[in-house]
Amino acid sequence: MASKGIKDRVAIVGMGCTKFGEHWDKGAEDLLVEAAYEAYNSAGIAPDDVDAYWLGTMGSGVSGLTLSEPLKIQYKPVTRVENMCATGSESLRQACYAVASGAFDIAMAIGVEKLKDSGFSGLVMSNPPNDGTPACMTPPALFSLLAPAYFKKYGLDPEKGKDVLTRIAWKNHRNGARNPKAQFQKEVPMEAIRNSPKIADPLGIMDCSGVSDGSAAAIVVRAEDAHKYCKNPIYIKALSFVAGPAEGPLSPEYDFTTFPEVVASARDAYAQAGVTNPREQISLAEVHDCFTPTELVLYEDLGFSKRGGAWQDVMEGFFDLEGKLPVNPDGGLKSFGHPIGASGLRMMYEMWLQMRGEAGPRQLKNPRMGLTHNLGGQPGRCVSFVSVVGNQVG
């Protein structure tokens, strides 16, 4: 039933990632060119060496022309993909499968989003013409639904719950302060997070990821060819992607303390990678911390914490940079903002740096297996991506 997977059959041999932030002086095409050339150079290849491209963007362009035009790609396949906030991860998944199939030798996955040109605050999505009945909720409000439900289920009073959420944001900003590519590179005191203006109670503005522009890219080849391009590639152990039946808004059985889609994709990914105890076996994880309660619930859905136990792990520093399982060591969406098409590949970029010992002041000791997690949608109605990567075969 579960996907068979392509464990150790594909490797990433080069990556690029722009600085994330308010790039008033750059358009989506500039960001794409920068990330692509950094990836070409990282893998030591020329643009013409790449056989096929997968471009992830939610709203910064349509069709492969969005990429082929600025890069002057010479009559090659460029596929534009979209899977909501998991768009960047989806482009990587498609590129990996294409290479694993033998159809192409070298593929590039690249994601971009130019959010700061809209003039609006927060993310803006346009819907197809409809009957006017779908709820018009903003993303922070949709994800804030998790907080009262989780607090009530596990007996956290609102003050204690707020402490937990605050500490997640504090940790991610602390990590981001050590990352030159992050949008926000400053530690933020807990009090400033806790007292930030309310956006969707109990979430303040500091419980939300920022809005930024950015792009990231990966060069993907068959694992047996990886050493032709670099000494220390990272290997794809698992790629899982699921779209849920959107039961949450329909069924009273869903209790807003979990993402069933994440549970399913994690189970699938762990089976592909042979992971049996993620809390022990995973060295680091980049997860979709769009809002602080999301990260809290993800710890449990990804099997890092037991049900109802994530908040204690948070308070004990289990997921800190110095903890047993550092989560979002690069600073996460919290420090990078969320240029939608780029985020999944930005997460992978941290795997690339950490596994190769290139993460500078936030370098972890000897990481072997990492996880990225990307989701799109809302609690009870979402798509979820989980990858497992490692720096060794087997």
């Binding site: 006017g132 709820a135 409000a141 309310k198 109670d201 808004p249 329909l250």
Partner: protein
């Protein structure tokens, strides 16, 4: 002659204290408070509230016509009554009319409906609502009110029979408003008082009492409604009616609710009326209408879904500043968010039962209720084994909620709740008529038909949840 077989009424939750207006504008305050339609209500949505209640207490009625009476129709072109009928789940095979132009439009519509029912036209429904808007510093801003009342007329099983009616139409200039104008103009008050309201009341009351063969002293209740409270008071004094028998004008608690007001006053007196009681109802405006009702024995067993008294008590304040924003009298800085898209006509027509009637579906295979209506069951995944299943009258409890301070609203923050219904089904929708600090998991809610927003001139009506009233 036919009679009233059922009725309902509606007073919105919000109240504006007249002293609060005076405090801001520096004008003299009158006593009491007025009812204010919330930012998501209008005459159509309030008419739906009243009509839904009236239909609940007339289970056997076969409604053949619907008249929506108002001076504040949300659409100038497009049948407002069609929206009211769709939301109240009346059958498509009805005659539907918008009755407007004067505050007298309400009582005129009632008399028309009664005559149609008497003529064998089946049951006739009348839904009256108004959202009285006066310019700041003017009298109407304070004296006006928002509210609705609805009646079902029929030949049999009436709780009150119409014994006689009289109408008078005169052309004169009292109160007027041309297309594009928000506030009505009015002529000097003395003119209407002395030349119109006073003489019209005298003439119409005399005529209707003669027709009914009822002496003034035999009236158990007198419902006199006028655009100007003084006009009604002067007429009552002049006609020497016993003040104890005069119905509450609701001036201190609700305000004059335009075309709905005579009807709303009547729904307030009917519950305590005894069989055989005679009630005079009269209203003036571009002439006058009047009727004499004889309360029937069936009234003793009739209980409205919600009494006027209960709705007068169920209330929460609105500040004058918010009132000005809700009515878009005070322009505000637009949000840095895109305007909502206007709803599209084809999907709205496809989803008419869902959007206007809140009809979901229930799986024949496993019995699971679900909304919006599904083709594939969320529980057992049976395909196309769904029956329509109504949710509008179901109560639910809040499973979790969100307080959205980013979403654009005329009344921020927007509160959204995940509602789990008694009998199954879950829906994520907006909450209304509630305070953000009072929402809690487990709270009981009921559904209410509202205007979510207006985009490109299209009013987007749909359902919200509110704390049980």
């Amino acid at each position: 002659m036919a009679g009233i077989v059922s009725y309902g009424s509606y007073i919105p939750y919000r109240r504006l204290k007249r002293a609060a207006i005076a405090a801001v504008l520096g004008v003299p305050a009158t006593r009491g408070e007025r009812a204010v339609a919330s930012f998501d209500e209008d005459s159509v949505s309030m008419a739906v509230e009243a009509l839904r209640d009236a239909l609940k207490t007339a289970p056997g009625a076969e409604v053949r016509s619907l008249t929506f009476g108002t001076t504040t129709a949300p659409y100038l072109e497009k049948l407002n009554a069609a929206i009211v009928g769709a939301a109240a789940q009346l059958p498509a095979e009805i005659r539907a009319i918008d009755s407007t132009g004067s505050i007298r439009a309400g009582l005129s519509a009632m008399l028309q409906a009664a005559e149609s029912a008497a003529a064998g036209g089946g049951h006739a429904a009348v839904a009256l609502a108004d959202c009285r808007l006066g310019a700041p510093e003017g009298k109407l801003e304070q004296s006006g009110g928002d509210g609705a009342a609805a009646f079902i007329f029929g030949r049999d099983n009436a709780i009150a029979e119409i014994e006689a009616s009289a109408s008078l139409t005169r052309e004169y200039l009292d109160s007027w408003r041309t297309p594009g104008e928000r506030f009505a103009h009015s002529w000097e008050e003395r003119f209407a008082l002395t030349q119109a309201y006073g003489p019209f009341f005298r003439k119409i009351i005399k005529e209707v009492l003669e027709k009914a063969k009822v002496a003034p002293g035999e009236l158990a209740k007198i419902v006199l409604d006028a655009p100007n409270q003084r006009a009604a008071e002067e007429a009552l004094r002049e006609l020497k009616f016993d003040p104890a028998r005069v119905a509450d004008s609701l001036a201190l608690t609700v305000g004059q609710t335009g075309a709905a007001h005579a009807a709303l006053m009547l729904t307030a007196v009917l519950p305590s009326a005894k069989p055989g009681d005679r009630i005079l109802v009269a209203t003036v405006g571009d002439g006058a209408d009047a009727m004499v009702l004889k309360v029937a024995p069936a009234n003793a067993n009739f209980r409205p879904v919600r009494s006027v008294g209960r709705m007068v008590e169920s209330k929460g304040d609105v500040t004058y500043a918010n009132y000005l924003k809700w009515r878009e009298i005070l322009p505000t800085e637009p949000p840095r968010r895109p305007d909502p898209d206007r709803p599209a006509a084809p999907p709205m027509m496809r989803a008419e039962k869902w959007k206007f009637g809140l009809i979901g579906s229930k799986c024949r295979a496993c019995g699971t209720a679900q909304l919006p209506p599904q083709r594939v069951c969320v529980k057992c995944r049976a395909f196309d084994k769904m029956d329509p299943y109504p949710f509008a009258d179901r109560h639910g409890r809040i499973a979790t909620y969100a307080i959205d301070r980013l979403a654009y609203s005329l009344n921020p923050p927007t509160i959204n709740a995940v509602v789990d219904y008694e009998g199954g089904g879950r829906f994520l929708c907006e909450m209304t008529d509630c305070e953000p600090d009072k929402v809690a998991i487990g709270d009981e809610v009921e559904m209410t038909f509202r205007r979510l927003f207006t985009a490109d001139g299209v009013h987007n009506y749909f359902w919200k949840a509110r704390p049980r009233r």
